[in-house]
């Protein structure tokens, strides 16, 4: 590669655009990174941006969630998995690969005479799911394991979100990365706080390396 022959841009191109103001400073490849605009505008939308604070109960349009946020939600991502950049890695329809395209699971609440169904595909994080469950069963409060936050207790009873996975084990919601949860969750049960002593968070082998 002859890096000595720097390329010169044409003064104007066929369309007659004026390039005085847009003259490139040409340097040898591999030199220090001097960008055309001095790097002033870089960075704000590159790769991993700031997190977005999703407060519980916030009514965002879930249809646009994957698309309006070009920023990532590092805090909402389950522990051990990285903050996700929109559209990266470029896996086509990853949500569908290895999963059903419309993931309805039944939600039962201890003490409630009815069941509800939620479509897990509608959510991208645990926060969104729990917010939605809270709406659905609005007379209860749900203990949020991720943030260790306790919501206002309306009638003094706390419910712990649990789910049954593919192997038939009952797990605490929030223990595994979101995608893994969606893939393995068969149904959800909001248990009364007193019943959850028997459950222990299971740490899948690949996460055991974290401190």
């Amino acid at each position: 590669m002859s890096s000595e022959n720097g390329k010169r841009l044409p003064e104007t191109d066929a369309a007659g655009l004026n390039f005085e103001a847009t003259e490139l400073t040409l340097g040898l490849p591999g030199k220090s990174r001097v960008t055309s605009d001095g790097g002033a505008k870089l960075g704000s939308k590159r790769g991993f941006s700031e997190t977005v604070d999703l407060s519980l109960g916030d009514k965002k349009d879930t249809n646009k969630l994957g698309q309006t946020q070009s920023q990532i939600d590092a805090r909402e991502a389950a522990p051990g998995s990285k903050a996700q950049v929109v559209g990266w890695p470029p896996v086509r329809g990853y949500a569908k690969r290895g999963k059903k395209s419309c993931k309805y699971v039944k939600v039962a609440v201890d003490g409630a005479p009815y069941l509800r169904k939620v479509d897990l595909e509608m959510y991208n994080t645990y926060q969104q799911l729990l917010a939605s469950l809270e709406d659905m069963f609005s007379c209860f409060t749900i203990r949020n394991f991720l943030n260790e936050k306790k919501m206002d207790q309306v009638n003094g009873i706390e419910y712990v979100p649990t789910y049954e996975d593919k192997d038939g084990d009952w797990m605490l919601v929030g223990d595994v990365p979101w995608q893994m949860f969606v893939e393995s969750c068969k149904r959800i049960r909001l248990m009364k706080n007193t019943e959850t002593v028997e459950l222990a968070p299971r740490t899948p082998p690949k996460w055991s390396r974290r401190s």
Partner: protein, 585 residues
């Protein structure tokens, strides 16, 4: 002396000669010889391919080619596959169907990719084209099983219904019962994308049973393994088969029935499906493995030992799609068993995980490049790479036509030398003179683009992410890649200068996509004003670009050539500049 008219054949003779010319490119060349050839050719063109549905209007197509029988249209840009194009952006097929319903009553084939297809469109197709035969909806969305029912009921001579990778609103499995008992013409049925709801299985069985020409059948995940043996026995002439889920309760007869069923399929060359695989049932495939040329295991969560066992039974394999569970060891086995391999795609089983969950590295790809001399097309997701490996791969495989490498973590350097991967990709473009498609990843400077601009003369499509240092990088590509048709870029420091300096180049390409780069709104306006045959679309969902200073970078930019001017179906978050500099919305 009397002047003799050159080529004084009667029109019918010319038309007959032209009928042997099928390719669109050749037909275009024919039409440019002289006016009379243009006229004759346009009346006998039967097949039209439109790579960007907004490049031309339906009326224009119909006016020039009045007797079309087969049309193919593509809508959204490729990055729509990765959620970078907001919902509602466009790509609606209905206006095309409406125009063609009137102009092409004898239309037989519609093939669409990344378009929005409504039930209304499907109903209109079923009503308007009496001899309709082929419907392919590749990565489309917007329709439900109601629309499919209309197609099934209305298209008496339907040969092909292929819904590959489309998003279908699965309202009911009963749409299949709408195929009349008199329908025996099906050759290809692909419903693999349908959701978890059961398709009416008895209707499916009856349909398969009465279509003796059925060659390709791809089922959806809801069909369980125990049902497959029945289907195969009804259609032993199948050449291409997609299973449903490959699991069922362990029962004594299932394996033997399944093995017998596969044995009866003497023509079977291609297999796919394999959701939820129970490895104990894989040996049922052994009777067909020696003839298999194409195997898609990309949904199969089986691990390296099982994959190796299966693949070592398939010496004729030309195409393999698999998850990275295959690991380096499996790829080594592949390299020694499958000497005819032409295409390999390795997908990540855990793309969002932080740590690697499998032992798949650059070594696997090197093994395959060494062992498979016919390898032409690669899509490879991994977590580490070296320049040395890429150079070796390039030297082993000078025949690459498609090379797409995705190192999962952006800006990953050569893990041995800590250098950018410029030299490695440079070797790819230098050695692979027929390379038509390239996707880059890892740590890359402007240098890699210099290599690409210098060597990649046949390159038609380039995908770039998190790469480059300056506008010079983009300039190298736009000024050097003579065959470039599609360029898609995200998160790179490329801005105004390269775009404006190469504005004329953009008219020789189908399209340019740039998102999260540094192209200013002012430059977009200028481009739109000066280049009348380009549509310059700015996409921004947060706020209108004109509410900010013109020097601010736009969020997303999509530029494409068009002879029908700005489109009229833009949603609120898309702006385009017309000739007078007005911002249309």
């Amino acid at each position: 002396m009397q002047k003799k008219r050159a080529y004084s054949f009667p029109d019918e003779v010319l038309e007959h000669v032209f009928s042997f010319i099928q390719s669109g490119k050749d037909r275009n060349a024919v039409s440019m010889v002289c006016k009379s050839w243009y006229e004759i050719e346009r009346w006998c063109r039967r097949k039209v391919f439109i790579g960007n549905c907004y490049a031309v209007s339906p009326k224009m197509v119909i006016k020039r080619f009045p007797e079309v029988r087969s049309i193919e249209l593509k809508g959204k840009p490729h990055f729509a596959d990765f959620n970078l194009v907001p919902d509602g952006w466009g790509g609606y097929v209905l206006p095309w169907i409406v125009e063609m319903a009137g102009a092409y009553p004898w239309l037989e084939e519609i093939r669409l990719k990344r378009m929005v297809v409504t039930d209304e469109s499907l109903e209109l197709i079923a009503k308007s084209f009496k001899n309709f035969k082929v419907l392919v909806l590749f990565s489309c969305e917007g329709f439900s099983t109601d629309g499919l029912a209309a197609i099934a009921a209305g298209c008496k001579n339907l040969r092909e219904l292929d819904l590959r990778e489309s998003e279908v609103d699965d309202l009911s499995g009963h749409w299949l019962t709408h195929f009349p008992e008199t329908c025996t013409s099906l050759v290809s049925l692909n419903i693999s994308c349908l959701g978890s709801d059961e398709v009416s299985f008895s209707a499916l069985e009856r349909l398969v049973g009465r279509c003796p020409n059925l060659r390709s059948l791809r089922l959806n995940r809801a069909v369980s393994l125990d049902k497959i043996a029945n289907i195969l026995c009804l259609a032993p002439q199948l050449v291409d088969f997609g299973t449903g889920n490959y699991t069922t309760e362990l029962q004594p007869d299932v394996l033997s029935n399944l093995t017998a069923a596969f044995s009866s399929c003497k023509e079977l060359k291609s297999l796919s499906g394999f959701w939820d695989v129970v490895p104990a049932y894989l040996p049922a495939l052994y009777p067909v493995c020696s003839r298999l040329t194409s195997l898609n295991l990309s949904y199969a969560t089986i691990h390296s030992p099982e994959i190796i066992k299966l693949v070592s039974h398939c010496p004729s394999l030309q195409r393999l799609l698999v998850l990275d569970y295959i690991e380096d060891s499996g790829l080594e086995a592949l390299a020694s068993s499958c000497k005819d391999l032409q295409e390999l795609r390795v997908f990540p089983s855990d793309p969002f995980g932080v740590e690697p969950n499998v032992s798949l590295t650059e070594k696997g790809l090197v093994s395959v490049s060494l062992g498979c001399p016919k390898l032409q097309s690669v899509l490879y997701f991994c977590r580490q790479m070296t320049n040395a490996a890429l150079v070796t791969i390039a030297q082993n495989c000078p025949n690459f036509t498609r090379f797409r490498l995705c190192i999962i973590e952006p800006k990953t350097a050569d893990y041995l030398t800590r250098e950018p991967l410029d030299v490695g990709f440079g070797a790819i473009v230098e050695h692979c003179k027929d390379l038509r498609r390239l996707s880059l990843s890892g740590l890359l400077t402007d240098r890699v683009f210099e290599y690409i601009g210098t060597y990649a003369k046949k390159l038609e499509m380039l995908s770039v992410a998190f790469a480059g240092d300056s506008d010079l990088g983009l300039h190298h590509v736009l000024s050097g890649c003579e065959s470039l048709r599609k360029l898609e870029i995200r998160d790179c420091p490329f801005g105004d200068k390269a775009i404006l300096a190469n504005a004329a180049k953009l008219e020789t390409m189908r399209s340019l996509w740039m998102s999260s780069c540094t192209v200013s709104f002012g430059a977009c306006k200028l481009l739109g004003q000066k280049m009348h045959r380009l549509n310059v679309e700015v996409i921004d969902e947060t706020e209108p670009p004109c509410s900010r200073p013109e020097s601010c970078p736009v969020d997303k930019l999509y530029v494409y050539r068009s002879i029908s001017g700005p489109r009229s179906d833009m949603p609120p978050f898309v702006w385009t500049m017309d000739e007078e500099g007005t911002i249309l919305h």
